[in-house]
Amino acid sequence: MTLRLTKVSASLGGHPILHDVSLEIVPGELVALVGPNGAGKTTLLSVMSGDVEPSSGTAELDGVELRRWKVSALARQRAVLPQEQRLAFGFRVVDVVRMGRAPWARLPEEDLDDTIVAESMHRTDVLGLAERTFPTLSGGEKARTSFARVLAQQTSVALLDEPTAALDIRHQEQVLAEARRLAADGHAVVAVLHDLTVAAAHADRICVLADGRLRADGPPREVMQPDVLGEVYGHPVDVIDHQGRLVVLPHLINHTPTEEPSCAPALS
């Protein structure tokens, strides 16, 4: 299952967001999508998931244009983790994860529902929350539940929009370890990440998006260059290598006072 975008441009509400983006996601790799705010990362993910149609260029899954896929068939090939978790009613965590099995209803795979749901919940550490109602969860717990739902969907392509945004360090590492494992198992995983260090640590490939264009696309060592990053983010960064791991350190902004404030109280 290859996801291929060829010279894709896309607009939202009349505004052009993406320009001429071409990239290919193949099974077995975890691709991190990074870039500054407003670069178009979520829009790119929406094009990949089939929610947004490109205004020019083609977006194809397995050689067939996304808009020609039937909704139900597409759901068996790709899963999407949204940025925000909404739920209209107070379903339990286990029910929400089970919703991920919807594309497999009335198919032989349906028999495995219970097992898959249980394992997905275990892998995201929400098994203990199974009977809790979703709206009562914390942001992080909601995010992990939704990730469990994505895992339960059992698709070859997984598109994750900011999967670690609300998570603490432990859960962040857990989720990304799961994403890596998915990729290792032969899935194609795309994750929009805001933290460059995290991206460098886990991704096989990093795509840097700026102003709707693909600025860089390659393994972390290649892409994580201070000059490129500095230009893209408009802020100077240092990239250091710590025991084989890349760490991106943005420069601090210093305020050096020019003179002592004249009304500083004299300390006796």
Binding site: S72, A75, R86, A88, G90, V94, A118, E119, M121, S156
Partner: protein
Amino acid sequence: MTATLPSRPTATTGAPVTLPRHRSARATALFIVLGIALALLTVYAAGRGQLAIPAGEVWGSIMHRIGLDWGTMPTHPQGDNTLWQVRFPRIALAIIVGAALSSAGALMQGIFGNPLAEPSVVGVSTGAAFAAAFVIVFQINLVGSWTTALFAFVGGLITTLLVYALSRADGRTEVVTLVLTGIAVNAVCSAGLALMIFLGDTQEREQIVFWQLGSLNGSRWEYVGVVTPFVVVGLLGAMLMARKLDVLALGDRAARHVGIDVERLRLVAIVLVALLTAAAVSFAGIIAFVGLVVPHLIRMLVGPGHRVLVPASALAGAVLLLGADLIARTAVTGADLPIGMLTSLVGGPFFFWLLRRTRKTAGGWA
């Protein structure tokens, strides 16, 4: 290419991972309780009415009707007729209309993703009322006594489809647009209704008001026969789409990601809602709040899963309306209280209470 099953992880204990046991006991208990309540209330209601018939004679009448010669027949010369021509059809219609309104409400809330949705939002009730008023004022008599019901039904259906069609843009229907369009169409139908009231004479006006307040007075077996298939189809349809309705709670986008054809689901559901509500409204007038309050209550008791919610709402709605109609026809001697008034009197304050209590756990508005 199907996805590969992830290899079973070894949990800390080394045993395979399984789900905690699903407690469906509560749902079963609810169904049993509701079922018994309905049976008991039906029996009780059969024995109560403006014409006093002792329970033993009610029993006797039923037994004789099914061919068994047990018990005594009602002593009053019109007792048997009262039971079979007046009371029993009314009880039957109350049950069916209650079931129809509640399940329509549950469906409505599911497809809108909003616990405040009611079938009247899409204009079913007002459209039906307008059509009925039209018949009354212009004294249309196409199919005899069925004319009002037929027009009400068609009016409700047309209004619903109109609201739906008008609120579509780019092949998608946004919930907010649907509600706003519903408000607009409701306003037009209300204006039409007001015009009918103006044009009518005193008697016609009374008929219209009578119809608007909702009443099961005058229920006949023929009506029961007409409404029942609609309700059966509506309920069955709702049950079939129960699982998909659950998924709609994720939001349109996420539901589509999981393979739900949101547009089609919404359209089919709205048609079912229109069928259920129009069928109920055609014969019983407008009875408010049942479709709003009952699904809420059930959701509070057994959660939002539609597989249980829809049939449980139907059962509970039947019990509620049967009880309300019992009060309506026996509370005051010789009087027949408008049942819509009763349900509003109870439903209104209850709705306020619900708003305050369930906001947190329900997850707010979509």
